[in-house]
């Protein structure tokens, strides 16, 4: 169980609904481990600042997270969390392993800025 303060996505259907109903989405798929927790923390921190983006997490070991683990964009990933960025339901960016606040913000700004 992921005991973060983020919205938890528990099924593949909920994942599909979430990315199709929201224009800009960031989902962190991980465990409660040392590489994942800092990313959840950053997302919780950014929820207020990026009101145009919806944030959520998904448990890496749940069979339902195949919707993230099996996409071609993560084929070379060998470190959790898998962090996925969706625009209008389409995957636009994915990162592997721990990320800093600066790295996350630069992706959010590049992919989800109002001008895009």
């Amino acid at each position: 169980m992921l005991y973060t303060n983020l919205k938890h996505i528990e099924t593949a259907d909920a994942h599909q609904k979430f990315i199709s109903e929201n224009e800009n989405v960031m989902i962190c798929c991980g465990r409660m481990g040392p590489m994942c927790i800092p990313v959840y923390g950053i997302m919780e921190e950014l929820e207020g600042e990026y009101s145009n983006v919806k944030f959520a997490d998904m448990e890496f070991d749940s069979p339902e997270s195949h919707v993230i683990r099996s996409v071609p964009e993560v084929k070379s990933f060998m470190g959790i969390p898998f962090t996925m960025y969706y625009k209008n339901g389409k995957l636009v960016k994915a990162t592997s392993s721990i990320q800093s606040m600066t790295q996350v913000k630069s992706i959010l700004d590049a992919e989800f800025s109002a001008a895009k």
Partner: protein
Amino acid sequence: MLNSALPNNNMETNNHYDAIVIGAGPAGLTAGIYLSRARVRTLILSEGTVGGQMILTHEIANYPGVESISGYQLSTIMRNQAKKFGCDIKSNILVETLNLHGDVKEVILADGTRYSTDAVILSPGGRSRTLGVEGEDQLKGKGISYCATCDGDFFTDKEIIVVGGGNSALEEAVSLTKYASKVTIVHQFDHFQAFEFAIEEARNHPKINFMMESTISAFHGIEKLEGVEIMDLKSGKSQNHPIDGVFIFIGYVPNTEFLESSIELNKWKEIVVDADMQTSIKGVFAAGDSIVKRYRQVTTAVADGTIAALAASKYIHELHQNKKLQHTL
């Protein structure tokens, strides 16, 4: 509230704190709890997530008074305690400039926000040491890892390297044999620093072999890690080795780079403090994993934070008394 010092320059009064704590691990949060409860107006600034290294601990079973708790939960409780007493906390910020000398100290963030304060407690903690060689940043998460329990299962039936010679390296190398077909430990010295039982367990494991007096000088790969360059430190010769994964366990380094030009550090870049956690600068205290000490535990960090907060409270009180006295003369 002890806030009676005049703000520096044209700084807004609400950006003046009696004390600013830099770092929000167990030491910084404890300092925040003690200071705020003593009605010292306190701000905690954290460059990372609140909780520091503590949040990375799956289970803490030796924190007195609590039978078992996750580091994440314990840090949440500490944060809420500090906030309940009125402590302000700002996380994931970047400290750009510190002016620590004089009675009024200044902290400037990368976004331009300026704070003034009477006392500073430094508790920036530490982080995993990296090799700092070519390709390491780009291939992190794509074959290079710093956490065996997180990423071990990605390397099932693959050949991997573990870098390091301490307890973490040897114990994690053994645990990674659950997944990997072969584990090679690469270590820069001709002997290990780990406890004897950990060395024996690794030496006796059929899947583990060793490359001593060697170091990785470069990582190669585009989409993912494909190989490493290993240098023999005796001969200085390097050779390429194809490999699927590398796990790096070469200890911790204090987060004190931003302090190098301002306060006294020892040769390992740890902050030098006295018994009251006072640093080389008056009114600047330090606590937690970044100070000179032998044992780094949540309990020792909490103790450091307590001492630093009590000493800082006394310093602030005396500073304010002196200012009042000067004002009346």
